[in-house]
Symmetry: none
Subunit: 412 residues, 2 copies
């Protein structure tokens, strides 16, 4: 069984909005052994939509459609798909009722415009959208399955995972694909390729691909087999192999993040963490608190962006700042020690650096970052010169590196 994807919206062709949906859907479909044979990005144009659906129909038994499901005049996916399916639109009172409840929850009246979203092609099953008024729909016939979803990624992803994926899987052939992710930090993609040798060659089963960003490399393992058990066994075998080859560079699996892994270790070891940030400006703490339940181990975070706040809030000695500067090993250490003393945490991360574009000197270039790790009374400071060219990249890299240092510390 093959699939095709049709993404609808003028904004996708104007360069304003990147189409991230098709890539995500390709990954999901390949994950269950369904290759995508083509992606069409088309404008909000009735004829173009119908035509693209007809072209897609030639290459896949599954067509996924996203976008153009809103209440505004340029959202014409519903009538266009109805036209393609050769059925009229049908008013669904149940949807309108849901819209009213939805707006009631927000304490806002429903705009008249939203009414149009209650009309869907006759004979289609409704795909619920708890996050908005753009409901989707599903049509299954002998040789074609069509799922139509809104373009807003969060809504589309939720609806695909909860309502489209199950429908597709029940109607699927008996060779299955199982995927796994192995996540590494602190290793270049080429170093990694060298360590893996022929493990990454095409056609191997399981297939191993890599993607990378901000110091992180993700190994995507996809195993094809007759059933789940066989696929799982193949994946387990490769994971053992990878652990031998990569050791501590591996920080986690699947959807784990450095922050969630550090959180898990803190819980296990019954430790509490505090954070003192300068150049990362809250990003490090944001990553830690992205994890539900992080209040179990995160005590407090300080973003001491000004010198005065470093002195007053964390007790960094004025002399340390005047003598060595805010971006220095000494200040990084004083920040961690101050935060430890004020919070009573057993683990503290301190970050100070130059994220740029301004603030650099000959001795202290953009990308220079000091990270201090306080752990049960002892404090170490690590210097980095991140080659990354932009502010966002440097901040990202610094925050992840701090989390990785905490992981190595807690792992022991």
């Amino acid at each position: 069984m093959n699939a095709c994807i049709v993404c609808i919206g003028n904004e996708l062709l104007s360069g304003y909005t990147a189409d991230t949906n098709s890539r995500w859907l390709c990954e999901q479909l390949l994950g269950i052994g369904i290759p995508v044979k083509g992606v069409w990005l088309v404008p909000d144009d009735h004829q173009r939509i119908v035509q693209s659906l007809k072209q897609a129909e030639q290459h896949g038994q599954i067509i996924l459609v996203t976008g153009g499901m809103g209440p505004t005049d340029d959202d014409i996916t519903r009538p266009a798909v109805a036209d393609f399916l050769n059925v009229p639109l049908e008013f669904k009172q149940e949807l309108l009722d849901q819209f009213h409840t939805f707006f009631a929850r927000m304490g806002r009246p429903m705009a008249e415009k939203n009414r149009v979203q209650a009309w869907i092609p006759k004979g289609c099953e409704i795909l619920e959208n708890p996050r908005g008024t753009a409901a989707g729909f599903w049509r299954q016939t002998q040789d074609l399955r069509v799922a139509v979803l809104p373009g807003v990624p969060a809504e589309m992803m939720y609806m695909f995972e909860t309502q489209v994926l199950p429908r597709i899987q029940t109607s699927q052939a008996d060779s299955i694909v199982q995927n796994a992710k192995v996540r590494c930090f602190g290793l270049g993609e080429s170093d990694l390729a060298q360590r893996l040798g022929n493990l990454m060659q095409r056609g191997r089963n399981p297939l191993i691909n890599t993607t990378c960003g901000a110091g992180e490399v993700i190994l995507h393992i996809s195993a094809m087999a007759r059933d789940q058990a066989d696929a799982a066994a193949l994946i387990e075998k490769d994971k053992v192999l990878l652990r031998e080859l990569l050791g501590d560079y591996i920080y986690g699996y699947e959807e784990e993040t450095l922050a969630s892994v550090v959180g898990g270790l803190l819980r296990q070891r019954r430790k509490k963490i505090a954070v003192a940030e300068s150049c990362t400006g809250g990003l490090l703490c944001k990553m830690l608190t992205d994890c539900p339940g992080s209040s179990d181990y995160l005590l407090c975070g300080w973003i001491t962006y000004s010198n005065s706040s470093k002195i007053v809030q964390l007790g960094v000695p004025e002399q340390t700042l005047s003598e060595y500067g805010a971006v220095s090993e000494q200040t990084a250490r004083a920040m961690a020690l101050g935060a430890a003393q004020k919070s009573g945490a057993n683990v503290v991360l301190g970050v100070t650096g130059i994220a740029g574009p301004g603030g650099a000197t000959d001795q202290k270039p953009v990308g220079l970052v000091y990270i201090s790790v306080f752990y049960d009374g002892r404090c170490s400071v690590h210097e980095y010169r991140f080659p990354v060219a932009n502010r966002t990249g440097i901040r990202q890299r610094a925050a992840l590196t701090a989390l990785n240092l905490a992981r190595m510390q807690l792992r022991i």
Copy 2:
């Protein structure tokens, strides 16, 4: 004149590699007044490539092709395009010579495999690729212009700007397009559509499209005119109109963010800001520090995630927490006042809420957020019940709403 884009490569359909080329090309083309009417992502498959080119030909007088130009066996774009153009491949000695020079510069011998890259469709002009051996080519006939470029973004962009753009412009009608963005916050997309009425109808010049996310709506204005000055005038006229219709919902233009706008206002008014976060866990401060130079106005941020840190770091009365709870109007107020007193800032934002998935009660559901705004000695607290279903969305929405409250306060 219209354009279509065909991006070739199995990796684009596997989900591992994002197609960033088509978006960039759309932006470039619209920038010179050429709307893109469709994008095709197709696998390395001879028939599929030819077929997609034929479909593209129906909707544009310009076809841009990227990818599948390498020396390996799965790179079959050259023969496929030759087939579409109905011409044989032709060996170009000049290209082979360039390859030899290219490898000589790198001190490596040329691999035999690269030879194949010297074959391009008969009658095409060579598009030079100084950064690699994947040369491109250009074919112009009475009613069709085809540019074929490598998929590597850096190479593709360079070749497009230096060799394709000039060729297109010389063959172009004298109409240009200018774009602008108007950014709104706190207004639903459908409310907005109602306020705009027929301003959004298709075919209007300037054309107005909307995209939205996390409480933000962006209006994309694109004006078509004979020259830059006329286009600029059309856009200015619409901006005035939109300000009348949307007033304070408009927070900025082009690439401005709520954080950068708030930063600008703080600078103007010579005010300093501090932040006290609970549920947003650093995200609000992260947004503020995303802006270069934010150290000019950001004094300090506290992430008081635990009750004890709210008490110790911000002086929130223990009784307030026990009586009203950590997620309450009273605690939000105490957080802002504490942060103001400790930092000496004139503007303070405090955020406490339930981001979920855990921590909710009947009285306090997930999505309940209190935001306190301290401004020159006075403190107001605002209650929100965000309908968003997930932790990330609620945190995002809460942080942006806090910034918007600061904007409204500073605007006055």
